[in-house]
């Protein structure tokens, strides 16, 4: 099994890195996301769709593996993280019980109340930096911020805090910011968000039937409810049945990403744990190398510059000794610096090996989950096209509209599951 293969690689490399254990840093406070203490009213139970993140792979890194090592951006790992990180954020939001349905969704989905999207700016075993944006169905921006944090090394310790993600504080901060943004909105505003999301979905399926209910401000790009359809509207009833199915589909896609994250959990945790040590060891040795070489160079320069103004032989001997000592010490320091630099290269190589090994582990998992998602959403798209046609026929039947009018009349890009 590939996990076993990866574990063996990790174990072998761990031996190479000479008894490395997670280097301790000052313990981080373990933040907890604000949880609901009583039932959240329906009007405030906002459904959240967390899109797969942008992996943030620069083009030059994509094209040049050497650049990848240099920048420590490993494309296959980033692609896996672009699916893993939203899943962790989702778990954090679900754990607060502050939200409605929280799902990880493909990038084309926009029919939910609140869409959260993000980009990975930096992700190593030592540091996570992401940019997160959140926008509700009306087009109102809830947040657009960069979040970063160091790894909590307790999550890396054997027998330690392994249930907690090393970057849980980052997810908690995002969850609390989203909650703060929601708290800033009135019940009425949140109800409008939900109604607009519903109407956008309905318009995607039956544009002719629903276009009169939903307006969009050309200047701000914001959606608004013009008026609500009658509760017994026959097209609306069918749209509600379709919506239920769409949500079920998106839940299934989201569950697929959760399954992916669970499969990735162990090898990814190992990769982060071991790379953390390597990164820290490499950084330390590089810093030592720089310091020693700089001090060594200074000592050699000082030796050369020892003043030669003695009038006696004793003084001259002392001066020579000082000069020799300073030069020898300087050279030794430079040599030691060079050695540290060489040692740091071992860690650099280990990092490359670990990452390359984990890349080969993660890539097929990404292919698997995306393959299933595409199969599911692809066949759903075909079905959605038929439902659109049927709803249009029903609308024509009810209103006496000319039969030749277009199904997609007024629709824009509403061809994908979850697209509103």
């Amino acid at each position: 099994m590939s996990t076993v293969r990866y574990s063996i690689a990790v174990a072998a490399l761990a031996v190479v890195s000479a008894g490395c254990v997670v280097q301790e840093t000052r313990p981080l406070p373990q933040m907890q996301a604000t949880q609901a203490t009583q039932e959240v009213g329906e009007e405030r139970l906002i459904d959240v769709g967390i899109r797969l993140f942008d992996p943030g792979i620069p083009k030059e890194v994509e094209e040049d593996p050497e650049k990848a090592d240099e920048e420590r951006i490993y494309p296959e790992i980033r692609r896996a993280e672009a699916r893993y990180i939203p899943t962790r954020l989702r778990e954090t939001l679900v754990g607060t019980a502050q939200w409605g349905a929280v799902r990880v969704v493909p990038s084309q989905v926009d029919s939910t109340d609140l869409i959260v999207s993000g980009e990975i700016l930096e992700s190593t075993g030592a540091e996570l930096k992401i940019r997160v944006r959140a926008e509700d169905a009306t087009g109102r921006e809830w947040l657009d911020k960069e979040y970063e944090g160091p790894a909590d090394t307790r999550s890396y310790r054997e027998g330690g805090n392994l249930g907690r993600d090393p970057f849980q504080n980052v997810y908690v901060t995002i969850a609390n910011d989203l909650l703060a943004a929601r708290k800033a909105l009135s019940d009425e505003q949140l109800e409008t968000v939900q109604r607009v999301a519903d109407l956008r979905f309905a318009s995607g399926f039956a544009p002719a039937a629903f276009e009169e209910y939903l307006g969009k401000d050309d200047k701000t790009g914001r959606y608004e409810v013009i008026r609500l359809p009658a509760e017994n509207d026959p097209v609306l009833e069918r749209v509600a049945a379709i919506r239920e199915r769409d949500e079920n589909l998106i839940d299934t896609v989201s569950d697929g990403y959760t399954a992916f994250s669970e499969r990735m959990d162990e090898p990814y945790s190992n990769w982060r744990r071991y790379t953390y040590d390597e990164i820290k060891a490499e950084e330390k040795l590089k810093a030592q190398a720089r310091t020693r070489m700089a001090l060594g160079a200074l000592a050699v320069a000082a030796a050369v510059l020892v003043p030669d103004s003695c009038g006696s032989s004793n003084c001259a001997r002392i001066t020579d000794a000082v000069r020799y000592g300073a030069a020898a010490g300087g050279v030794a320091a430079v040599m030691s610096g060079l050695k540290k630099r060489e040692e740091s290269k071992i860690h650099t190589e280990t990092l490359k090996e670990l990452s390359s090994s984990f890349e080969s582990e993660a890539a097929p998992l990404v292919v698997d989950v995306e393959g299933r998602t595409l199969r599911l959403t692809g066949t759903a798209e075909e079905q959605y096209a038929e439902w659109r046609r049927l709803l249009h026929e029903l609308y024509v039947e009810d209103t006496g509209l000319a039969r030749g009018s277009s199904v997609a009349d007024g629709a824009s890009g509403a061809t994908s599951p979850g697209a509103g």
């Binding site: 109407l199 949500e247 839940d251």
Partner: protein, 163 residues
């Protein structure tokens, strides 16, 4: 799934549209259910592998939420259609900040979105819960059977007393 035949014209046209919708709903539901079952099997296999694997010792188990019967998020947390909604309290706790507490992240892997259900007023905010307390709390919040839910809350109270 897939595009079907056009609905024939006639006075019973609306009924025919509905019949076709029902047929396609059935096929769609079956296809989605099949994928759900496949995912559930994979996850169950993965979890049993995790438990049997070298890293599956008691101290290393990941904190996972209750999967229950595989219910999906739309069943619990989302609303359907364009129904109107009622009023309620914000219900925000104050468990944020930097609570120094070992254990989990307050997350529930695998559970899908849902709102809290009937948290009794004497239940604290959970900011100082350990893993066990949090799992009981989450199970109680998700439980739809009122008797079982109350039993879980009672379990939670007892556990908290014993801490």
């Amino acid at each position: 799934m897939g595009a079907g035949p056009s609905v024939p014209g006639g006075e019973d046209r609306r009924a025919a549209i509905d019949r076709r919708l029902e047929e396609t709903f059935g096929a769609f539901d079956a296809a989605v259910r099949a994928t759900q079952e496949q995912i559930a099997r994979e996850r169950a296999g993965q979890q049993s592998e995790d438990q049997q694997g070298p890293g599956g010792g008691p101290g290393e188990d990941r904190e996972r939420g209750q999967d229950g019967d595989g219910a999906t998020g739309s069943e619990a947390g989302s609303r359907g259609g364009l129904e109107s909604v009622g009023a309620g309290d914000e219900g925000d706790g104050q468990a944020g900040g930097a609570a120094q507490q070992g254990g989990g992240s307050g997350t529930a892997i695998g559970s899908t979105g849902s709102g809290p259900r009937n948290i009794p007023p004497d239940i604290p905010d959970g900011s100082d819960d350990d893993i066990v307390a949090r799992q009981i709390r989450e199970a109680a919040m998700k439980e739809t059977d009122p008797e079982l839910r109350e039993a879980l809350w009672e379990e939670y109270r007892q556990y908290k007393k014993g801490q």
